[in-house]
């Protein structure tokens, strides 16, 4: 397993979270290393969304701790997560169709040329275009132009733009929520390439998916959640999809942990 001995990028230790009487997370442990893709699988209601929302600062854990590069951290808000290098791409992408690629990549965090009012509204266009070009190249995705509105682009391109948006800020860990759920075969292949390039660039990736093919094509490790716990960790090179399905449904729990 890659980087088994090195310090994990992210470590979640015994995190619990309850909503009223619902125990959404009951002591989850999870580790993600740099240049590693971890697929997070589990049935509906297993706690996947709650877990990533806790990591990305949307929810606060009731107990347990989160460590980034070995240091315990508090993540009180999505902004705080960004500051720690953790970016999340939610399923609905949150892009503006009427804006260009560059405008979407930097939306809300634009580079400015001056600091005082009113000149602070002047964009540092060239710098933004340069950085956008760099990130798009790194992702190995093909876009018509960085200056065209994204409304006319395909689902795969939009997914790539959302990932690029997460990368613009030099993030270390990217969390993707069902990135291929709404895509066709060709677009799915493009998004897979984007995810492989993220790993090749040294980022850690948590991939939430219901798609067994995605998990086996991309993941270095498969983590299965059930009833608020990460019940098992599997190596996709060793197990079969049937075994993973078994772990998800609880039909035949085979632990492949070393």
């Amino acid at each position: 397993m890659p980087g088994a001995e090195t310090m994990p990028l992210l470590e979640v230790r015994g995190v619990a979270k309850r909503f009223g009487s619902v125990e959404a997370l009951r002591g989850v442990d999870l580790r993600v290393h740099a240049a590693e893709v971890v697929a997070l699988l589990g049935d509906n209601g297993a706690g996947k969304s709650t877990l990533i929302k806790t990591i990305s600062g949307v929810h606060q854990p009731d107990s347990g701790e989160i460590l980034v590069l070995g240091k315990a951290v508090a993540i009180p808000s999505p902004r705080a997560a960004s500051a720690l290098g953790i970016e999340t791409v939610y399923q609905d992408l949150a892009l503006c169709d009427n804006l260009t690629v560059v405008q979407n990549l930097f939306l809300g965090r634009e580079l400015r040329r001056f600091s005082g009012w009113p000149l602070r509204w002047v964009p540092a266009r060239r710098q933004m275009v340069e950085r956008a070009t760099e990130v798009v190249r790194q992702l190995g995705t093909t876009l018509p132009s960085l200056h065209s509105q994204i409304g006319t682009m395909s689902g795969g391109q939009r997914q790539a733009i959302a990932v690029a948006r997460a990368m613009v800020w030099g993030s270390r860990l990217v969390i993707l929520d069902e990135p291929t759920a709404a895509l066709g075969v060709e677009q799915t292949a493009n998004v897979r390439r984007v995810i492989r390039n993220l790993r090749a660039s040294g980022l850690g990736v948590i991939l939430i998916t219901h798609n067994m093919q995605d998990a086996f094509a991309l993941a270095d490790r498969i983590v299965v959640m059930r009833q608020g716990r990460a019940i098992t960790e599997m190596d996709p090179k060793v197990v079969t999809p049937d075994q993973v399905v078994g772990a998800i449904t609880g039909g035949s729990a085979i632990s492949m942990e070393p």
């Binding site: 965090r109 634009e110 602070r120 964009p123 798009v136 093909t142 960085l146 409304g151």
Partner: protein, 392 residues
Amino acid sequence: MSHSRPPATPSILARLGASRIAHGDLGFLPVVFGLVVIALVFYNLTPVFLTPRNASNLVLQLGPLTLLTMGMVLVLLIGEIDLSAGSVAGCAAVVLVVLLTRHGWPAIGAIPAALLFGCLAGLIQGSWVVFVRAPSFIVTLTGLLVFQGLQFLLLGEEVGALLIYDPFVKGIASTYMPHWLAWCLVGLTAIIALAAALTAPVRNARRLLRLLLFPLVAAAIVAVLNLYFGVPYLLLLVIAVALALTLLTEHSLFGVHLLAVGGNAEAARRAGINVSTVRIRVFALCSTLAALAGIVAASRQYSVDSATGGGNLVLDSIAAAVIGGTSLFGGRGRIVGGLLGAVVIGSVSNGLDLLGQPAHIKTIITGLILLAAVSVDMLARRRRISSGAAGA
């Protein structure tokens, strides 16, 4: 251009915007076509339509509508509407003249006061939309009634019109530049266009053509208007406001945030943009422009009365914005389009006046034009959605 991979070279057609049209982005094609048709039809019916004198009249008549339309474009861009703009204009005009004539204020105090009144009207309505989460349609419909009532209240017992005596305010819509000054400004436009063409990082045929358009249009306008009294200072005011608002919407980060709020407010919010602030500012800006429109309208009449800012003014401005390519669904539209749309509405109204048509015919025809413009907007949106662009 910036690509991750070298793309196929775009065809000439694509460069000239044909591909945008195929995607449902019609640009200014319909409105320019409409203007040509209007000019030809009215010229056939009454040759007076295309005389320098009528052109000069048209420019002055268009003053209030163009200013109001530009504010409306801003509000429509964020996906809202302002039905109160006309009565805010009327009320601000009355505020101006009451201060000037009844209280003896100088123009330098009364004009800012009227503008401030507009700004406040917008701040209140915008805050209501944002904090009470009431639809802007209802809030500004209420504003329409309240400010109209306030206008009557301020006019008081006055029978007929309240007259303006201040020479500066009277002069806003009735003084003209010396001919040489107008030509100097055309020269300045040409120099700026040339400088922009030479320093542009990307040189393509389309951009150069567009830059060439500015001095040419300016020269044509000046040539025609100088055959009559000359270029009204009012035209300079309208162009200055249009330039400032174009800078704001198309070249500043505030413009990007404004488009983001209109395109996908939830995405804007999650990106850390203060959506409420953007909305309130836009309502304030729209109402301030409405107040300016009211001041210009008062200056044109040399007086105010209960009808100032009333009638079809606000519907005309919505029609003008939509004709100029601003979408009623938010996130799409340009200031310059609003100007062109206002010229369409203004020319039709002016032409019908020349033909001696009564007001109700004008109202019906303006209504039909609005309907046509909205239908084109709907069709273009459907085209965008079917060609892959979801949402707005």
